[in-house]
Every structure is written in structure tokens, then in C-alpha cells.
């Protein structure tokens, strides 16, 4: 029930911010009706769980995003240098990275963070961890990627 209320509040805030109407009763009524309809449908479909409303991630995720932004910036410069080099020296590599996060949300966050930093793309999630494709040897830095996984594991919270 707590998750449901959070979902309704989040959807309502989204509706208000996107529409920008605060003083028209008719439109506000339509908005409230659509928010409730969407939330009830989600509940009926049984998808109001930790995957769709990941309350466990907050508030630690904001610090993580800030940190991730800098990582993305750094690796972008590297990839752009290769894209514009007269003779790009690529040495693509496939390797496994151990996956520390335990919850499904944590795993998804970690794998998407790997993909989001250019130069590395998560290809598959298996028993041995996450299969990563890297553009060059420099990007295939298992230590740095594991650091990212540790960070996610610290903030992911529990599955409940």
C-alpha cells in the first residue's frame, strides 16, 4: 500500500509538472482521474513492486548519478578521441565482470551504468557476472567497473 501511494503521488507530480495547470478544476479533475486509473491498472497487473517503484534506491541514487556523470564525461572524451583519430587503434575485448549487486534493480542499475559509460557495453548477464564488450584495452578496466558495482551494491537497499 505504501508503494501504491508513492506511485500515485509521483504520477500526480508528473501530471502537474507537465501540464502546468494549477487552477482549472475541470482539467485537474481529468488529471486526477487519469492518475488514479493508471495507478489502479498497475496495481491490478501486479507490477507495483520493487522493480517498478524502486523505493529502496532513494536517496542514495542521486549521489551515484552525480558520480556517474563524471565517469560518463571522462569515457566520452576517450571514445571521441578514437572516433576522430586519423588511424583509430581499436582493440575490442570481451570479458566478464563480477556482479556485486544482489537485487534485480541493483543489477539493472549496474548493467545500465556500464552501458551508459561509452566505451563499455554490457552484452549479457550470466552466472559468471556481466559480459562486457569494451572498445579498447584501456576501457576494459575491470577494477574501475567493479568500483561502480560496489557503489551500486552500497546504495541498492533490500529487495523488500
Amino acid at each position: 500500500m505504501g508503494r501504491f501511494i508513492i506511485l500515485v503521488l509521483a504520477l500526480g507530480a508528473l501530471w502537474l509538472l507537465l501540464s502546468g495547470y494549477f487552477d482549472k478544476p475541470l482539467l485537474l479533475g481529468f488529471g486526477a482521474a487519469s492518475v488514479l486509473f493508471a495507478a489502479l491498472m498497475a496495481r491490478r497487473a501486479g507490477i507495483v513492486d520493487n522493480d517498478s517503484v524502486p523505493t529502496g534506491l532513494f536517496p542514495g541514487i542521486f549521489g551515484y548519478w552525480l558520480w556517474l556523470t563524471f565517469e560518463i564525461g571522462k569515457s566520452n572524451i576517450g571514445v571521441i578521441r578514437h572516433a576522430l583519430a586519423v588511424e583509430p587503434k581499436l582493440s575490442p575485448k570481451l570479458f566478464y565482470v563480477p556482479c556485486q549487486p544482489k537485487t534485480s534493480v541493483g543489477k539493472a542499475t549496474f548493467a545500465n551504468s556500464i552501458t551508459l559509460t561509452p566505451g563499455t557495453v554490457s552484452v549479457d548477464l550470466g552466472e559468471e557476472g556481466i559480459l562486457v564488450h569494451a572498445l579498447t584495452e584501456d576501457f576494459a578496466d575491470v577494477g574501475a567497473i567493479k568500483e561502480m558495482g560496489d557503489y551500486v551494491a552500497r546504495i541498492e537497499g533490500s529487495e523488500a
Binding site: 482549472k24 475541470l26 482539467l27
Partner: protein, 201 residues
């Protein structure tokens, strides 16, 4: 009525490059024999033409183009691909002079017709000189819907768009039936074939 005065603003360049890309994509679709490539290119074509519609201020058309053209029709075409081969059969180079002639005559007629059209945004154009302004002025007072297009379609033109409203109503009823909103219990209970899956969830 009005001379063509082309002012080279960035928007004109934008329109020109969008149209050029549209033509390029269309030719690539004609030339390609690989059907998957054609489907992907048609998705790109929809995106481009939707961007062009936005540039023409036809925002509602752009909405529809994005949802139907880039979204639904791509998937429908892919589903159609399931029933056929992946490559088009090579055919003998086009010998269809009649079709070519028809296309050229129609195109020339359409191009000729544009000469009579009022300039884009002309205040004296028929579209702007009769009741249009009145709708723009009165809608906010008559109906509390901020989007004038919505208000005109759903309210002022409620009778001559009755067919359209019926379609939307039918679609709404179909969605409600599919979701099972009609029954008091909220749909039938459906159990999964494998009980392990149900427990794991």
C-alpha cells in the same frame, strides 16, 4: 497574389535538409532489395516526416505520424515479414511507361496548383479570414479545454466528426473489454501453465 520571397533563415535550411533526407531515404527504399532494411528505413522516413510536420506547425499530425508511422506500422510490417521471404525478387528493370506518365502528369498538376495557393501564413488567406479568428477568440470562454484543436474537433465539430467519435468510442469499449472492466470480479482468473513460474513471481 504574392511573390515568392525566400528568406534564407535557419528554418528554411532546416526544411530543405529535412526534405532532401526524405528524398534520399525514399530512393534508398526503392533501390534496396533487402526487406528488413526497407522496414527500418520506413521507420526513419516516418521520424523525418514527423519532424517536418512539426516545422510546418502541424503538431497534431506530427503526433499521429510518430505514433502510427514510427511505432505501430514498423511493427506491423515486421509481422508481415514473418509471412514472406527476406529478400525481394529481382525484377526486370521498370517498363511501365503508363505508370510513369500518370505520376508525372499528377505531379505536374499538383505543382501547378500550388501557384494559386496563398503564401504560408498570409493573413488574407481564406483559412484566416472567415470564422477562424472567432474560434480562436471564443474557445477559451466556451470550453475549458486549452487546446483549440481538441475543442474544435470534440465540441464544435461534434456532429460532423460523429464517425470519428464513434471510432474512438469503439476503441475505448474494446480496451475495456480486453481489460475485463465490465465484470464485477475484474476479469477472469487465469493461471499460468507452469506452476513454478507462478510461485517464483
Amino acid at each position: 497574389m504574392s511573390a515568392f520571397e525566400v528568406e534564407l533563415t535557419p528554418i528554411v535550411f532546416l526544411d530543405l535538409s529535412l526534405l532532401t533526407m526524405l528524398i534520399l531515404v525514399a530512393f534508398a527504399m526503392l533501390r534496396s532489395r533487402h526487406l528488413f532494411a526497407v522496414v527500418m528505413l520506413s521507420g526513419i522516413y516516418s521520424l523525418l516526416s514527423a519532424a517536418f510536420f512539426v516545422s510546418l506547425d502541424a503538431v497534431d499530425v506530427a503526433f499521429t505520424e510518430a505514433a502510427v508511422g514510427a511505432g505501430v506500422s514498423t511493427v506491423l510490417m515486421l509481422a508481415g515479414m514473418l509471412l514472406t521471404a527476406r529478400r525481394e525478387k529481382p525484377k526486370t528493370p521498370g517498363r511501365a511507361p503508363v505508370a510513369l506518365a500518370v505520376v508525372f502528369v499528377t505531379g505536374a498538376a499538383l505543382a501547378y496548383a500550388t501557384i494559386d495557393m496563398p503564401a504560408f501564413g498570409d493573413p488574407d488567406a481564406p483559412a484566416n479570414s472567415y470564422v477562424g479568428q472567432q474560434y480562436v477568440d471564443e474557445t477559451p470562454n466556451d470550453i475549458a479545454v486549452p487546446n483549440i484543436v481538441t475543442a474544435v474537433l470534440a465540441s464544435y465539430r461534434g456532429f460532423d466528426t460523429m464517425g470519428e467519435t464513434m471510432v474512438i468510442f469503439t476503441a475505448g469499449v474494446a480496451v475495456m473489454l480486453l481489460l475485463g472492466l465490465g465484470s464485477a470480479r475484474g476479469g477472469r482468473e487465469v493461471s499460468d501453465a507452469e506452476p513454478e513460474d507462478g510461485e517464483a513471481k
